[in-house]
Symmetry: C2
Subunit: 228 residues, 2 copies
DNA sequence: CCTACCGATCGGTAGG
DNA sequence: CCTACCGATCGGTAGG
């Protein structure tokens, strides 16, 4: 959102009042928001590749084209940068999840039917893979594997977002369990399902054969019983 | 093995054979091998709790009751200690897996029948949970979540052990796939299965209600179709 | 955002 | 295994 506000401020009226309205350093100002975003992006990538503790703030600064002290102009400390990466990732995941569900609901409505639990499940799984393995997919793996480096308070905030994310799944899984399509104790089944999905961040190679649709199909086949 | 060699070499002929059958400082010498084991144990625990990079060799030394330089008497460097933790964990896992399978085969033979693929699967899953969540269960999670901190050569060695471990599963999963009890592309199904199992190291709380048998039962219900 | 810098910590070693 | 130590690196800051 900060991108939008910043972009809506032109910064290029300048050939207009060349004499009067000096450059105003518009380029530099637009960068202000972008630099923070850039820091988040490279931090996510490095935290994922090397881990939080093994990544120095100097590594991050250098990858963002800054000097060693500059990240601290944007973030209070290294931990706050990590927390920001995770929150950014979770917020994006929540938005994508909601958008995917809304799109599926609309499509079904246009076709005059409602979504089955199985169809909801498919949409959620597919969206999850997108978030985990698609473009800009470093943020969520960092959250999954580096949360122990957060302070207790930061952990609480991130956990709240994660609960929101999981809450969308609960009624779907409950319905699948009620129909017998998903078996095993529901709580345990949910944990194992997320384990199966999240683990893909460790082994999935986009250059390889399987597409996200392949993965999604396999998950449905593997976890769901047929209703008959 | 070094334990054996060390125990066979006395080193205390000096008050000569005063009484002839003295304690021989056996306790101290036995400690020599124990110190290395103790280092592995505390290192596994700390690496798991804090991560490899966030754990200093001083932390480890202090937790083992040594001074800061002493771990380097037992291990060439910090990386070698990490590799030893992983190798120790995988060797133990391989032994436990083989023992569990052997015991199950023997029991079935004594009862005059052979193991079904489903029964093999149950034994492997149960043994996996034991290794992952039972006593001394820090080693394998360290391997699962810290392997990127290894050098390429060390990674190769650990990977060989991991391949041996997975190789035992392959024919079992193949049989389950052939019978229709396990569905989805076999390669993907295997990765997702391990994901579901391994993720339990992140959330399982032994103080909580579910036992390892509960988990095993849920896995079978969740992943296997009924043959009818 | 950069320059210049600081105190703390870290992996590792020599020599016993 | 301990003592004593070293060079390197790290997170972070003051002051512009």
């Amino acid at each position: 959102m900060s991108i939008v506000t910043e972009l809506s401020e032109p910064s290029l009226h300048e050939p207009v009042r060349r004499a009067r309205g000096r450059p105003r350093k518009a380029v530099h100002e637009r960068d202000d928001g972008n630099r923070r975003q850039e820091l988040l992006r490279v931090a996510a990538r490095l935290f994922r590749q090397q881990g939080f503790a093994a990544t120095s703030t100097r590594d991050i600064a250098s990858a963002a084209g800054m000097r060693s002290g500059s990240p601290f102009y944007h973030f209070e400390n290294k931990e706050a940068l990590l927390a920001a990466v995770m929150q950014e990732g979770m917020q994006s995941a929540l938005q994508r999840q909601a958008a995917a569900m809304a799109a599926a609901v609309d499509l079904a409505a246009a076709q005059g039917h409602t979504l089955s639990a199985r169809e909801c499940f498919r949409v959620l799984v597919r969206s999850h893979f997108e978030v985990l393995l698609g473009p800009d997919s470093d943020f969520i793996p960092v959250m999954l594997y580096e949360w122990r480096s957060l302070s207790p308070e930061q952990r609480g905030e991130v956990n709240r977002l994660k609960d929101d994310y999981e809450a969308v799944w609960v009624p779907v899984l409950k319905a699948l369990h009620a129909s017998g399509e998903l078996q095993g104790e529901p709580g345990l089944a949910r944990m194992m399902l997320f384990g199966a999905l999240n683990w893909s961040a460790q082994w999935y190679d986009p250059a390889r054969e399987a597409t996200l649709d392949d993965l999604t199909r396999s998950v449905l086949q593997l976890f769901l019983k047929t209703t008959t």
